[in-house]
Amino acid sequence: MNFGFSDEQDAIRDTLARMLSDHATLAVVHDCLETAEGFDSATWAALAGGGWLGLAIAEDYGGSAMGAVELAIVAEEIGRSLAAVPFAPVLGLATPAIQDLGTQSQKEKLLPGIAEGRLIVATALAEDGGSAPERVSAKVVQDRLSGRKSPVLFAADASFALVAALDEGGTVRLYLADLSDPSVSINPHDAIDRTRPAAEIVFHGAPVELLPGSDPAAIRTLLDGAAVLAAFEQIGLAERALSLTRDYACERQAFGRQIGSFQAVKHRLADMFAKIELARSNAFFGAWALASGDNRLAEAAAVARLSALDAVQFTTEESVQLHGGIGFTWAADPHLFLRRGWQLKAELGPADLWRERLLCDLANGPAAAN
């Protein structure tokens, strides 16, 4: 039984955590929230320089070919840092899609650029806020894509997008679109978390390339893997929110005592801890299923997603609450976590979607769901 990280994996985490704490401070996140751009390009460049963006990319394409567990560690640390970078869309979705489902020329064209931090490939799966690929109405006819995709994160910073659309036979497939094409227009949204800028992309007959391996089952597996990584990102975020709140409860005095000595506060913090650890246990199962290619990945991803969503919502809301009046101000940190929590929720769809995924998987058996 080994349901934890190895010493080498812990060392990877420490190195990354140090790098991130140098670059992506909460002051930087506050700055990103104020600027129209949102994107923290300095931290993204530092991640590329440290080889982190190519972690799961094959060596032939400029990466270091590590596994899903290492990628999960990166996700957790990015979540903890709150860095305003497109980790989930680029490393959680676009990279595995291109690497596992794309042609050799697609890999050659895009993967080295991703590893070097030159290229951002946005993911445009959702339409009208939902992100179940079955509900897609964008269409590709004779290699030309038409439709609206929303929300797409970091669209303005991306060169390409991975798009879910119906092929001529009405089957959902994944395509690569060059966003510099004149037939593409990008309309920024007003997102709850402007450090992950979101937009609508409208394709008016844009030229696209099919990822040949992207049948519906492969798309589901891709989403499951992304949900596992997102769960780690959510856990990192929730744990930082807890630690911030715990520190405040030790520092803030009321009625002649530190407020953390009151059970009303202490027990709430204990509940945050319990929800985070429960989510971590499910996320570990997800990382194991992803790394080992186990046929329980769909179940693992769903339970990881559900418990991570619950942990994040509870922790970030109660973090604002336990900070009292100061927690309600723009200048304080708790709302950064609250905003990011909602953004992470929007990215792969709400709990309902994953509850149905879980129940369908259990009803049909793991093999049928894949």
Partner: protein, 408 residues
């Protein structure tokens, strides 16, 4: 990350299952795992004794005990593996959990040579069954508030008072008893531990009927029980230190034990497909589906949390922070599932047509779950422990800490 045994663990598992195959019957699918440690009747006690003595003869009793005391010097993960393997067989309940898991290790640390040679071998073979005489009507979460008195008279101690929530006292032969010997000092400082015979006529045991209707624990009345000074375990007034050893071993026994998880959340799927809500199969109802999916996610989380605990044990570490959440979350989850199962099973929730039907099944789940939220440290105590020991929050203010017990 992987779920497989190390080569040493696999070898141990094979050895254990070989012996179990030769000496016990595998459960068939319909039988539930024997995950409790309480006997229902005298017949079960007798069968438990017989099974324990066979395990002891073959070297499978007191696995983690040192060889010097008749144990196997096994590692904690080997204990977990044994528990998993034994769980696959139709074996009687483990009524020796307190004797071997809690009392034995306490006697090894604090006992005299005489106490070790008298009690340890008989605990191992199943001859003696132990209960834990700690909690009292006025001292549960705040155990150091016990009022049972032990007065010294010459070479004897005279003990009077009342204990409560004593699991298995009605069939135990021995008890480990915490008593107050000096009320003139602060409460943690004036206690002493004793090893007593439950058959003494000065001890009266009365079963307590629980809200589920069944009885697994007791109240125990002690009226001028006379014991020799040789029954004292550890130093005079050092009872709290001795009790902490017992409680630490209790936590360990719980963390390596088979999780007493009650019903599986998937059973609610089965129920929801058989009953209706608003004129349709309940499983087609959005709220029903959402509740069940969330129960499954929580239950999986608890299951995988136990794997993390096992990983710590397998690496030779103490169970880490993750272990503390299991008990806190299990009781509440069972209670909510029980309530939901009752609602789902009938509009007149709780009224069952006949025993053994769906309402009765989930009602029993609902009425036993509160025990998980109280026994072994209530949810409230668990939260305080997480807050103070893991998150490092300031401790509760204790106004009674430096006051003589008699002044409280």
């Amino acid at each position: 990350m992987d779920f497989s045994d190390s080569p040493e663990e696999a070898a141990f598992r094979a050895k254990a299952s070989d012996w179990l195959d030769a000496n016990a019957t595998r459960r068939d699918g319909s039988e539930k795992a024997q995950d409790h440690f309480m006997a229902r009747d005298a017949d079960e006690v007798a069968r438990a004794r017989d099974w324990q003595s066979r395990k002891a003869d073959a070297g499978w009793a007191g696995l983690t005990w040192p060889r010097a005391f008749g144990g196997r010097d096994a590692t904690p993960i080997e204990q977990v593996i044994w528990n998993q393997e034994e769980g696959r067989y139709a074996v009687p309940p483990n009524v020796f959990l307190i004797g071997i898991g809690l009392v034995g290790p306490t006697v090894m640390i604090h006992g005299t040579d005489d106490q070790k040679t008298t009690f340890l071998p008989r605990a191992l073979t199943g001859e003696d069954i132990w209960c834990q005489l700690f909690s009292e009507p006025a001292a549960g979460s705040d155990l150091a508030g016990i009022r049972t008195r032990a007065r010294r008279e010459g070479d004897e101690w005279v003990i009077s008072g009342q204990k409560v929530w004593t699991s298995g006292a009605h069939y135990s032969t021995h008890g480990i008893l915490l008593a107050r010997t000096d009320p003139q000092v602060p409460k943690h400082k004036g206690m002493t531990m004793f090893l007593v015979h439950m058959s003494d006529p000065a001890i009266e045991t009365r079963p307590i009927r629980q809200i589920s209707g069944s009885s697994s624990f007791n109240e125990v009345f002690i009226d001028d029980l006379r014991v020799p000074d040789s029954a004292r375990l550890g130093g005079e007034s050092e009872g709290w230190k001795v009790a902490l050893t017992t409680l630490m071993n209790e936590r360990f026994s719980i963390s390596v034990g088979r999780a007493s998880g009650g019903a599986r959340a998937e059973e609610l799927i089965d129920l929801a497909t058989r009953v209706e809500r608003n004129g349709r199969p309940a499983f087609e109802d959005g709220e029903v589906r959402a509740r069940i999916a969330d129960f499954i996610a929580r239950q999986r989380g608890l299951e995988f949390t136990s794997y993390r605990v096992m990983t710590s044990l397998s690496r030779g570490d103490a169970p880490g922070e993750e272990g503390s959440i299991g008990k806190l979350l299990l009781g509440k989850l069972r209670q909510e599932m029980g309530a939901f199962g009752m609602e789902l099973a009938g509009t007149a929730a709780g009224i069952s047509a006949k025993s053994g039907d769906d309402v009765a099944r989930w009602r029993n789940e609902y009425l036993t779950a509160p025990g998980n939220r109280i026994a072994g440290g209530s949810d409230e105590i668990q939260r305080t422990i997480i807050g103070e020991r893991i998150l490092g929050l300031p401790p509760e203010i204790r106004i009674d800490k430096d006051v003589a017990f008699s002044e409280l």
